[in-house]
């Protein structure tokens, strides 16, 4: 079970939206995490521009990794998460999700927030598609195979 948290979830969502807007307004880039990860992996294209692209992506991800400290300072404790999934299933899920985002050119941050916010038809279609297959997968895992 998890508690219904409409206010903190909406506030967190607004922070996600704010950082997407800042990424575009300051850096001129889409705040898509799978794209940032992909851009840091080989094969690399040479040149100063490509190195600059890797630089901001690395800094962005480093900020995300450091972000629990912000909440620790603000609230006095690290946020709690619960992972009701076994390690082998996390690995399988990670592999499938990684192949998926590579071909979809995006994930919930790139398509679901940034793309939807500029009313991109591709992002709306991608988001509806993965929301549907996620729901079906959760149903199958929890109520068909897991029962």
């Amino acid at each position: 079970m998890s508690e219904f948290t409409p206010l903190t979830s909406a506030l967190g969502g607004m922070l996600i939206g704010l950082s997407a807007v800042l990424t575009m307004g300051l850096l001129g880039r889409i705040a898509g995490i799978s794209g940032m990860i992909g851009g840091l992996l080989p094969p690399y294209s040479g040149g100063a521009a490509a190195a600059g692209e890797r630089g901001w992506r690395l800094a962005f991800l480093a900020g995300m990794i450091a972000s629990p400290l912000v909440l620790l300072v603000a609230t006095g404790s690290l946020p709690e998460i619960e992972v009701p999934v076994s390690l082998p299933m996390l690995a399988i899920g990670g592999l499938i999700a990684g192949v998926g985002v590579s071909y979809a050119n995006g994930c919930p941050s790139g398509h679901g927030v940034c793309g939807m916010a500029r009313f991109s038809v591709r992002s709306i279609a991608a988001t509806l598609t993965f929301m549907a297959t996620t729901a079906v997968t959760v149903f199958l895992v929890r109520h068909v195979f897991g029962a």
Binding site: A20, G28, I33, F60, L78, A91, L95, V121, T134, R142
Partner: protein, 145 residues
């Protein structure tokens, strides 16, 4: 330098948003999609809050001639739907539904002192890297020297 510092600070905000919202918490993510069981509608409020701010903010920001710290806006050029997009999105959803972590949510979760985010992130990065190499090779083969 200012670009790097800005990117770090924006990443801090992004990560804090993911943590506060519940997107970094697989139990909340999986419960959001579990309509037939322990449904938790919180994530609809994440989407609502994020889209409200991003849609208005993008409108203001993209009306400017250029971003503050770069020469131009870099927006995806593709506009048509194709099988790669929809197939990839469908596959991503299966992975998200199995694991409960997404590529964004798992990053701040790495610093919570748990092993699970590392297992998911390692598999995710391996798969993204493998597809990049595979596609780079495939494209080289398609282009005669």
């Amino acid at each position: 330098m200012i670009r790097t510092v800005s990117a770090f600070l924006i990443g801090l905000v992004f990560g804090a948003g993911l943590l506060l919202s519940g997107m970094a918490d697989p139990s909340k993510v999986l419960n959001f999609f579990d309509f037939a069981g322990s449904w938790d509608p919180s994530l609809a409020f994440v989407m609502g809050g994020a889209l409200l701010v991003a849609a208005i903010g993008y409108r203001l920001v993209l009306a400017r001639p250029a971003p503050v710290l770069a020469s131009s806006f870099s927006l995806p050029a593709l506009t048509t739907l194709d099988a790669r997009l929809l197939g990839g999105a469908a596959l991503f959803g299966i992975g998200w539904g199995i694991a409960g972590f997404c590529p964004g949510g798992v990053v701040p979760a790495l610093s919570l002192g748990r092993i699970e985010p590392f297992v998911f992130a390692a598999a995710l990065v391996t798969a993204i890297g493998a597809v990049r190499l595979f596609e780079a090779r495939r494209i080289r083969r398609l282009q005669p020297a």
